[in-house]
Symmetry: D2
């Protein structure tokens, strides 16, 4: 098979064992009929639909290094710097198309990190994880699966190591070892696209030591495996999607698309041996986390696609408001572009400077991938601020879509909320709702807060930037110029 | 009377002629029972309740210059720099107590601007607006009224002057002149606390010229005057207040308080002569706007009170998360305080440097008031960004309050969402919802977007900063030092 | 006497015992004839000359609280918030007039800090320092002395406490105690205006504990006391003043004025008992340092005067270059003004919020004084960057004044370096040299680096901001709104 | 020949017709013996010396596309994205080695811009400039010449077009056309490395129209051609190099190296036809300027090499001062690295996204090259500010090198200016002088002001960023998401 259609993908979600899903205090029988979830499925479905579209096929697919078949690029093990660059091209494209998080990157980034880490683990420890993982990847590629990369644990007290916690389940751990596999428990937090994924790929959340051996595990599991419980995360303005469940609701801002995060609880879930890729090799947890994070920090290039939406929205509302020729407006739009392209630059640079791992796939330049993400923790906030500046306060004081539907109030809105001649109130309102969505609503979750914390909070990147930079060498340049002798 | 209690105030709202109010597509029969509106009434009621509280009475009241009676400071004509300083002290206090917009400042700022402008208008034009206005103010002081200061018009095309618009109602205007008064039409946008006010005080929105004479009007009108229609503005996450109308709803973040903005439409509303304070004197529109804006830019000192909430929330969540000793966390909190106090500095400075107007009340220093507001268009966004940094991503991925009420999911939340030992999941969730509210939800409307656009968008302040600064004198300093002769 | 003229002041400098002064590797016999030193004397002389000028007398003088006489404000013990405000008004004025450091603030700030600290010390320890200090102040006021406030020690290894250093002289200390006084040794670094002062007032550089008792000393000493050695600090471009010692030299940028810093070495200098104001009371070192630093951080308001010069220079060069109508240029000038006035705001605010000490003089608000200085460590750099942006690269690539004097090259410079019609090359060059001076040259030492480190480096303010801010109270606001119970 | 040694290069400078050079008001007979000029020659000589060094040969050389010979990369026409990337690698390396401007980039960037522009000009106009230019390039490659790329004109009034100026020589122009060539007059400003170059390559400074035809010229000329006059630009602290002409002078900060800018005046200079590459084709001035600027904006990658020196100096002085373990110091160094690598990212990205021109050489991505330079107008200033923060104020208050040589003062300096145990005063002083040099002195000219204005001032990049970004497409993304129909 190897390439599913969007329709196949949507069908594959419902044709599973019933999931245990809670949202808004209810257990959902048919989660994928829920308007909030549906919007998030639409985003991920785009990764299939664009791959079907001749216009984007080139961007969305790759040739498998394992089988030679054409596969979705999200299942691909990167074979060159160009592959790394094509990855971010695909991500920016999707950001432009859905304006939010399309959820499929974490799996891709996990594949590539585990691929090279298992190789090096096997060399040192004589294990056979890499071969197992190749078999697993063949399955993923062939079935065109979405895999949720699960890293962040509940932690509770961040000041303690896993084994020091009062409740040992603060980090996902091996609860029991059996001949045919392991039984795990714990929970992974803010799991992007968890429900919309076919599998979950669990990884440790940080470098560990010997005392935390039982937490040093990496494995895959089917999303519908017995014992997994999903509790849906709520987002700013999420219920606007329920106000008008046919999807035409203007107040949703970007009614077609959404992101998704869940708490994923593992209640003694069984994992067969074939899908275990690390079990106790704590000395490789650091490498796995560093590589996964590195790939995933590169992935934040997707936010430049959302940034493109923000810039377009700014330019359009300026035009609707009749101020597009004002010099300060034009200058703010240039600044938005400049910041967006600065982010893009780091993601491009860390891709082209990628290097071959011992296992044969390509790893991004770790320093620049961290620089990329660090900029992502700053610039989208400034872009959003400038967007609000250009939009005007009406974005947050405007009546609702329902007032536009009410024949008593509609004439007032049409009269007083229109823009320049030729721009209707309804178009102006739609655009303002999109801007609200991007800067405060559901999409702001993805564009702002996720930009801050996804793939590691800012301080995590600073530690890596410090570690990846050869400061001793820089000291020697200064000494040479100042003629200081050692 | 002169000082109403909070209870009086609430009663006064319902004991009016029925208002025409629309919210969410419905006409509300009992608007003040609506949970969204009730939260906004709570905020404004605080301005009465704290004045009753011996602890805050000093801060909340003043002695009337017109009658010698003790009045609410919101009704006061400032008599000294100290009064101007006490004004912002009161505003910061209220910001700390409600964490959002308490809506009563616009009226106070309008009073003070109209007081001095009518005086100077009368001197030039021989009119008697000032005497009228004094009578009006005695009423306001005595009844302890909330008055909505209405400035911003619909405009539609911002590139055109009022008389150039296709639809002449783009700005509020005199539709008809009668012996006993005028009939007005048009609409004022994003009117803060409009429903919660006893009167509306309408002012022109910008400096006008002779061609826009019919738009050069200033008048008061009762909020329940026939012909006024209110359409309630919707805010990010507003409907969370409906999820649990008893007010205990954790997901509302700050369930007790809210802000309010409405579109206010004037459908041929009659205004009696006694309440008209400008009618056609276009040459004073600039002065009125400049002074009102100046006072109102000073008023943004209130955001430092909200900033105090944000800083407190940051320090508390760091403690709950077990990272309060980390140096980067401590440094970010210092930065938040520094930015907040920088805003405060400008509001304090423009108060103490206030000067007496010809009419006898005090006007803030216009340059520094504009500097204050300009900083408000920037620093709350950075404070909010740092708050999100410290909070962690869980703020946007956490399940809902309803999931906490559901006995099936509650144990998971209690287990995995708790903080350090001794901090329950529910407290941590409450705090995270407050942070969400401040940075993305209802309170973000007030703390961020309103900080950007209220009292004029950033560019408006830049124009004033340029105009208020004596650049020629600064050039002379440079010439002197460089020994350039004229 | 009580007010010296500028001429008196200049004479008073030379009519002292010969000082031991080194500059550029030479011992100077007549230091005050040296062009570099002369420029620095000119700046400080302005504090006398403007006090003579009827236009500025009001700003420059005060009525002594000790004697009722009119004294120079630099000798004044602040008696009210208004005094604190007048202090910064005087400082901004001087910054505008000399465009650099006028050196006399450190003494004034020391007087006020020591006055209140000695009072409280006496209350606790039963000492009589305060009475001694009042006598001393009467002398200073009467003679209109400049006093160098000496705080920063050599330290060498910043990671160690005084008593832990290999060389005990890293901090100034009591070397010997005698019945009539003490003998001190050590060195104070970057002493502003040291040579140009009549006295040195030595204070401890940080809070100390019992182990560092011998370092807990505060005393005054005549600048020409035996045993003091001055080594002049060199500044960027200092020798340009030597290129043309008559002072007309264009390349000096601002040929008339300069700042001054020296290393001041105390080689067993004797201090009589009457002039000792702390000797071993280590428990008051913290208070003294905190108050002195607080006053001195307020004093950085002077940089807004230099900022005014920078803004004027920007506006003027834009005009000379023919780009003053460009919107981006106008916007940059607004930004410069905004930043400058933001600094000004904090200095104004910390003045008006000053409070009475137990000794009776007024202390600035410590939190806002630290906020003021923290902004000074940032905004002048940005103002200077914008000034360089507006000036154009010619500022650093232009030929020298000597090339303008050379008849062979002069015609080329006149032809190609002129600005818009009517602006000669020489005027444009003078202005560009002033800009160079402010952003890279002698005045940049004062406007930039001193703004960073004077009165404590940025981190020192951050510690104080953290300490002065009641974070627990802020937490309670957040708890109240989120309805978290204790 | 094709690769000169450093020694060859130095000899080639003096073995020319005598140049007319003025510096500091004097005409220099032996300019290359002058210590200021010698330092600037050292920088450019590095481009030869490193090419001789086996360790750097790979980085410094390329294979000519015209002849197949190994040539210095500075003479190379880029044949691939990798070539563009190697270009910036070479530039960063040189920045690390000399810490200032090595002057040879402008010629390289001119070569590549003229190569492709002449090709397209010939296609349109049927001229033969491209063939001429290839011949010229063969000569340059073979002789390993340094060529000064001359773009910026004197302009005088920036608000006017060339033909509108009172003095027609404000822009370089054709004064006379002769059968064998043209005679030109005018002046080019701030010409980097002009004296140190073998040729000057003159280009128009902006897009012109038909009225400015005589200004639409591009040609090469020998640096020693009759009629050329050089007036040396003065830099901050330039004369420190004269204080100790043997080059050991500590106060020079970085005594070995320097930059160079000159005014270059063309007094009726003859240019033979073979070296004319544009004469009147005003419709290609825009393309030439845009491409040259694009390449040259990429070239500002060199500042990351200087940034490496700055970071190294910061880390080293922190260690000398005993504060290298302080968390705020470590954090500031991370920030410096982050900013430096962000610049690097844009230069890397615009290189790898380079595309083939019609003429066959490669052009960088114009959008990202402009983004790169825009960041260069900001981040080095912040890096320098942080460096001053870490260094401490002693950098600007420290005595001179001569005081260190004076036996009277040396002991004081050794005692009080030492750092932590093991770090001598002299090493600490050397390092502090380097920091002064980088942030205020000669190297600050290159690291700061040149970063601002070289290759076009900030506004020039903003115009290009606006022009290179497809905002209409971005609007369509916003419309799609908001469901606005056209």
């Amino acid at each position: 098979m190897s390439l599913m259609t969007g329709r196949d993908y949507r069908r594959s979600l419902v044709e599973r064992r019933p999931l245990t899903v809670y949202l808004g205090g209810e257990r959902l029988e048919q989660p994928f009929d829920h308007p909030i979830i549906r919007a998030s499925v639409n985003s991920i479905a785009l990764t299939y639909e664009l791959a079907e579209d001749p216009k984007y096929r080139e961007a969305m697919t790759a040739v498998s290094a394992l089988t030679g078949k054409t596969i979705n690029r999200f299942c691909h093990l990167h074979q060159s710097p160009e592959d790394l660059y094509k990855k971010i091209g695909m991500q920016r494209l999707l950001g432009q198309k859905c304006g939010t998080c399309f959820q499929r990157c974490v799996g891709m980034d996990a594949f590539n990190a585990i691929f090279s880490t298992t190789f090096e683990m096997d060399v040192k420890h004589g294990t056979d994880y890499h071969a197992r993982f190749i078999e697993y990847m063949k399955l993923v590629e062939d079935r065109d699966y979405v895999v949720d990369g699960c890293m962040t644990d509940a932690k509770t007290d961040r000041g303690k190591r896993p084994h020091e916690l009062t409740d040992p389940d603060g980090y996902v751990r091996v609860f029991e070892r059996r001949p045919d596999g392991i039984v795990v428990c714990g929970a992974k937090m803010h799991q992007t696209g968890a429900l919309n994924s076919h599998h979950a790929m669990v990884m440790p959340t940080m470098a560990m030591d010997a005392q935390d051996k039982d937490y040093a595990i990496c494995f895959a599991v089917e999303s519908d495996a017995p014992g997994i419980v999903y509790i849906y995360g709520r987002q700013s303005c999420d219920t606007r999607l329920l106000e008008d469940p046919d999807g035409a609701n203007m107040d949703a801002g970007s009614p077609g698309f959404g992101g998704q995060e869940c708490m994923v609880i593992f209640n003694n879930v069984f994992v067969p041996n074939a899908w275990i890729f690390m079990d106790g090799e704590w000395d490789f947890t650091g490498m796995l986390v560093e590589r996964f994070s590195g790939y995933h920090r590169q992935s934040y290039a997707c936010k430049t696609g959302v940034g493109d939406v923000a810039i377009g929205a700014a330019a359009l509302i300026a035009q609707y408001n009749g101020v597009d020729k004002a010099s300060h407006i034009k200058d703010k739009i240039v600044e938005m572009i400049h910041l967006n392209e600065t982010i893009w630059s780091s993601s491009v640079a860390c891709s082209w400077l990628g290097t071959k791992t011992k296992a044969g796939n390509y790893l991004i330049d770790l320093l620049l991938a961290n620089v990329c993400k660090q900029n992502v923790t700053r610039f989208p906030y400034e872009i959003a601020r400038l967007l609000q500046d250009i939009a005007g306060g009406i974005m947050v004081t405007m009546p609702s879509a329902a007032d536009m539907s009410n024949p008593d109030t509609r004439p007032y809105l049409e009269k007083y909320l229109k823009g320049v001649d030729g721009v209707s109130a309804i178009d102006r309102m739609k655009l303002l709702r999109l801007i609200e969505n991007l800067t405060m609503g559901r999409s702001a979750v993805g564009y702002l807060t996720e930009s801050m914390h996804g793939a590691g909070s800012p301080q995590a990147q600073r530690i890596m930037i410090s570690r990846q930079s050869d400061v001793e060498k820089k000291k020697s340049y200064a000494k040479n110029l100042a003629r200081i002798e050692d």
